[in-house]
């Protein structure tokens, strides 16, 4: 079942990748590919999408870390302080990956690219 689903997903992905160039705006001759309005739209889209992906995956990873820590603390309450320390360290390190993405988003949004 999962092999067939994987095959269907892969073929859908290929179809989307082949069809994507059809959405590109038609370019006139002599038109630069750096139309400022297009650049601004694509920068805004890129920043928002990057932050969304980073936050979603960071949320998943932190959820797994917290659930493992809670389970460990429930099994062994006397090791609670050490588990809490490792938990905080792990959470902040995972969070910092989302912060790096936020930094790139801020750099994208607040610099004047070309114009």
């Amino acid at each position: 079942m999962s092999r067939k689903k994987g095959l269907v997903a892969l073929s859908a992905l290929f179809l989307i990748m082949v069809a994507a160039p059809a959405m590109a705006a038609p370019m006139q001759d002599g038109d630069l590919a750096t139309n400022p309005e297009d650049v601004k739209v694509s920068i805004a889209f890129a920043a928002a999408l990057a932050m969304g992906i980073a936050s979603g995956l960071c949320g998943l990873a932190q959820g797994r870390a917290v659930s493992a820590a809670c389970e460990g603390m429930a099994r062994n309450p006397s090791a609670g302080a050490q588990i809490r320390g490792s938990l905080i360290l792990g959470l902040v390190l995972i969070e910092s990956l989302a912060i790096y993405t936020l930094l790139i988003g801020l750099v994208l949004l607040f610099l004047n690219w070309g114009t």
């Binding site: 905080i88 360290l89 902040v92 969070e95 910092s96 912060i99 790096y100 936020l102 930094l103 607040f110």
Partner: protein, 232 residues
């Protein structure tokens, strides 16, 4: 997005401008950082002379809690005899905590919300742990770049160098990103809804301040432990 100035920077700018005639445009994060250092020296050095061992007041007890927690972390990560590194790491901890928390005082911008301060802190931490490693092991400190079978060095050297260089980068960007994002979030919510909503974000800001201090100091200790244990 305009960078807002603290009141102390505005005061100093106008003070210098009234003497010399042109506005010096002092950097905001430098002025507030110096303010924190000068204020803590002026407050804590006379206070430390009046500390007593037998009858501590409440301020001394609170400060001893902080000192003991950092010492406990030092013992846990680096091992016995690590208490001599307390001045540097305690200084990091206090400066970063004060810089993060001073945003809650009206009229101050946190100096760690600027990449200059955090990169300086990250580079200082990097230089400190390398200095400790070189002082402890001499030229043998470079052996960790070569790896166990000596013929693996073309692969190991770039990887080790990159991982060492990424440490101050990640330390500084983590601190900057967290404090800047929280500070910007608070100011955006203040614009949207001046009553009530910023109050909800104040405890989050304090929590983030403590967490970021804790993580910076803990990672510095882990790097020091890693620099000292090769060959011990």
């Amino acid at each position: 997005m305009e960078h807002e100035l603290s009141t102390i920077t505005i005061l100093l700018n106008s003070l210098v401008a009234s003497f010399t005639g042109n506005d010096p445009q002092l950097p905001d994060q430098g002025v507030v950082a110096w303010f924190i250092v000068v204020l803590s020296t002026v407050v804590f050095v006379p206070m430390s002379r009046r500390f007593s061992i037998d009858e501590p007041g409440w301020v001394q007890q609170m400060l001893e809690i902080g000192v003991e927690s950092i010492n406990a972390m030092l013992d846990g990560f680096i091992g016995p005899g690590a208490r001599k590194y307390f001045p540097v790491l305690g200084g990091f901890a206090f400066f970063i905590l004060a810089s993060n928390l001073i945003t809650n005082v009206p009229g101050f911008q946190p100096p760690t919300a600027d990449l200059n301060t955090t990169v300086a802190l990250g580079v200082m931490s990097f230089l400190f742990y390398n200095y400790l490693g070189i002082r402890a092991q001499g030229i043998g400190y470079a052996k960790q770049f070569i790896g166990d079978p000596w013929w693996m060095f073309p692969l190991m050297i770039p990887i080790e160098v990159l991982s060492h260089l990424s440490r101050p980068l990640s330390l500084s960007i983590r601190l900057f990103g967290n404090i800047f994002a929280e500070h910007t979030l608070a100011s955006v919510f203040f614009i949207l809804l001046p009553f009530g909503l910023p109050l909800v974000f104040a405890p989050l800001g304090v929590f983030v301040a403590f967490m970021q201090t804790f993580v910076f100091v803990m990672l510095s200790m882990v790097y020091i432990a890693g620099a000292l244990e090769h060959g011990h």
